[in-house]
Amino acid sequence: MAETHSLQDLRQQAAVAAKVFIQRDYTNGTLCQFQTKFPSELETRIDKQQFEETVRTLNNLYAEAEKLGSQSYIEGCLACLTAYTIFLCMETHYEKVLKKIAKYIQEQNDKVYAPRGLLLTDPIERGLRVIEITIFEDRSLTQ
């Protein structure tokens, strides 16, 4: 059921024209941050501010995921004490934030990017190396 739904979506989808990859920003070490530089391919498709806001929010979310806070500390201690069996039941802090990120990306896609013929791909699918933005062909204007 869900699959057919997505297949229908695919058929109705515009064709993929290009893909832009937003690379990681390593200036602060291996923390997960993405470059906020606005790629030239998107210049005609989306506002620069909009894009930067999206990437900045993602960066903040990833920073929150990797934060060495009390939650992660407690989680670590608990895991140690239970011989790591706690991982079978509990979701780690990072995973929770990843879920938040996935939701945020979905929401951005729905509200901002899909209407503009763009699609963000969750960077976790690429190993947190790039944010992939798919640019769809704008057939309507060519007609």
């Binding site: 515009a14 011989a83 990072y94 699918e125 704008d138 309507s140 060519t142």
Partner: protein, 785 residues
Amino acid sequence: MAGSSSKSGGRGPSSSPLPHAVAPPSRPLRPSRYVPVSAATFFLVGSTTLFFCFTCPWLSERFSVAVPIYNGVIFLFVLANFCMATFMDPGIFPRAEEDEDKEDDFRAPLYKTVEIRGIQVRMKWCSTCRFYRPPRCSHCSVCDNCVEEFDHHCPWVNNCIGRRNYRYFFLFLLSLTAHIMAVFGFGLLFILYHRQSIDRLHAIVTLAVMCVAGLFFIPVAGLTGFHVVLVARGRTTNEQVTGKFRGGVNPFTNGCWKNVSHVLCSSQAPRYLGRKRCVQSVSVQPPFLRPQLTEAQLAAKILDNGIQGDLHRSKSSLEMMESQSCDAEAPPPPKPELRYPGITRENTEECSLLNKAPPTPTMYKYRPSYSPGKNHTALTHAYANQLSRGESTGSARDSSSSTSSLLQASQQPGFRSQPSLDRREAPADRAGGGPGADRREGGRESGGMPGYSLGGRSYPSFSDASVLSGGASRSSSSTHTSAGAAHVSEATTASASFKSLANQTPPPHRNGSLSYDNLLAGGDGLKDTAAPELSSGKPCAVVGGGFNTPFLSQPREVDLQSPHHHHHRSSHHHHPFLHRSSSSTSSSPPPPPERERLLVDPHLPPGPQSSGPAPQPAPHHHHHHHHHHHHHSHHHHSTSRPPRFAAPHAPPHHAYPYRTRSTDTPLGSASNTCQSSHSPHPPPLGKSLSYSSAAAAEMQYRLVRKASASAGANAAGAGGGGGMGGGAVQAPKDELIHMKRTNGDQPFSCSTPSSPSHPSPAHKPLGGSVKKVTGVGGTTYEISV
């Protein structure tokens, strides 16, 4: 490599797993991989079980029940961490999908530099995984995966240790040490109380367990101590072993406390493989919204395309054209045509030029196939037996077998054009040297960081980048800012061919053809490498005419440079060097230190293999290093016979820095070179090589200067000889300082030009004694003193 051959069968399926698939499909079963882990498990569980069965009952009765409880808890901890370290995904990166790679077309460089906290870090292209490895990521040849924050591949747990499971590995070591100490201690207690009944079974078993514990304690405790230090310093085993931070600056450290807390207390990193893929339920259909282009943007676009268009053209049509040109698949875009169809074709010529792809050398036309596994294997098979370095640790062999095979390839005569990947973390962030150079002088402080250099100051392991950057910055500041800029861009793009080579099985003759193509294709065809050469070649011709006429005609320079270009150890590293050297010679009085650095530079980098045409016999000027000798001799011959630098020389064999160095020196008179060959003879031990090479370089430089000043070969020779003494003092100073830093505690002998990762010295050193030195990159090389 034994591993690669047996893994070859599984290369196909494992080379291109879907990113969201489970871990790479099964590779052929290799029972030898499971021996250490089985042994470890056996000893651990077996000994502890015996301890609990034979020793603990008496102990719990005699002393307290807390003894077995304590031991039980610790043992449980050991087991839990052992299992986590063994079975947990260390942070494997999924293979990049094919469309991601198209962005980095086959002209993309093998290395990309990124600045981390002011330090230039090099990211290498992984041909197996098809992306540029993030910092601290490394490709494990055993597992055939790129692992995030790769520490090492541990045979005892038969797993890579990376970002995700380092904590468990570390805790495993700590707890195992505690466990061994407890077992040994309580066993000793048991024996002490049972001295009379030592022949009983319980005592014998306890003695056996104590023996096992005692035997394992030393290595385990040693490893634990080692990792405690690593954690405190914020380094990985890979970085420690390859000497990346020997100079002292680690961009990844946050201080001892933060490092420890990051290892122990950070949240569990997510795994990348085997994730449930969320289905995109978004439907993307036109019509699409468009942002409002401002007038300025429109104007910028039009002017940018060099087309005077109608600014009042409707935005919608403009955007329509824009969207059409968005196709990333298109070759250099026929953008102007599409964008402004209404414009009369006055720019037809421009458009046609834009549309036509520039002629590319043969090398570049190889589009990397998306089956890196096959190529990987082919390379491995072809060059596996050429494995140079003595890096025995599996971790040190982190670079994929393709890399090492490439390294081997690079050492073959036919592969000189590749960057000398063989110094694995080989010194000099060459690409980093470029950008960094433009900012400031090459730093000579913490040399020993292959692949890392401080922003603005390069800290190559062997002063390569410092020389380069020094040269680069100066030369770029002097007259060849364009060259410098070209260099910068070129530094990052220099090894386009290398990335494609990395992805394919380059035939051995390719390098030869590459150099030919460089020569023949002209500036246009060699966008990335030759063009800068040519541009810098021109100025050289001016100066060259002064004293070594046959040598300095422009084509010569190009000839000289282009083969050198592609046969350097690390191509982009040396390209800038070439630029610098040529440009520095052209701008007649480059500052001496720069010149020295330039001149000494070739010595420092790993002594390239002197493959290629047999070096001609020539006067010895540098006894110390055979390579150097050969190259110099060769160069001298070439200088005296410039025509030799034409096509016949193009065939690779110039990989070595010495070559580039000699290209400078030939600018001096040939007679000077002969003289120079005699002067630097007997150097102080240890420093001999560097002094002599630097001295020779300095002498050459002075020769050049004097030659240009006096326009007389003899005067130059005399001046060169006279300047030798002074030059020798000055020239090596920087080099030595740099060397010192580079090699940390290594004696000066380390700072010889021999390549740090020189695999197996093909030449016997001429000197009597041979010193084996471990250089940056963890490789040993021989220096004759």
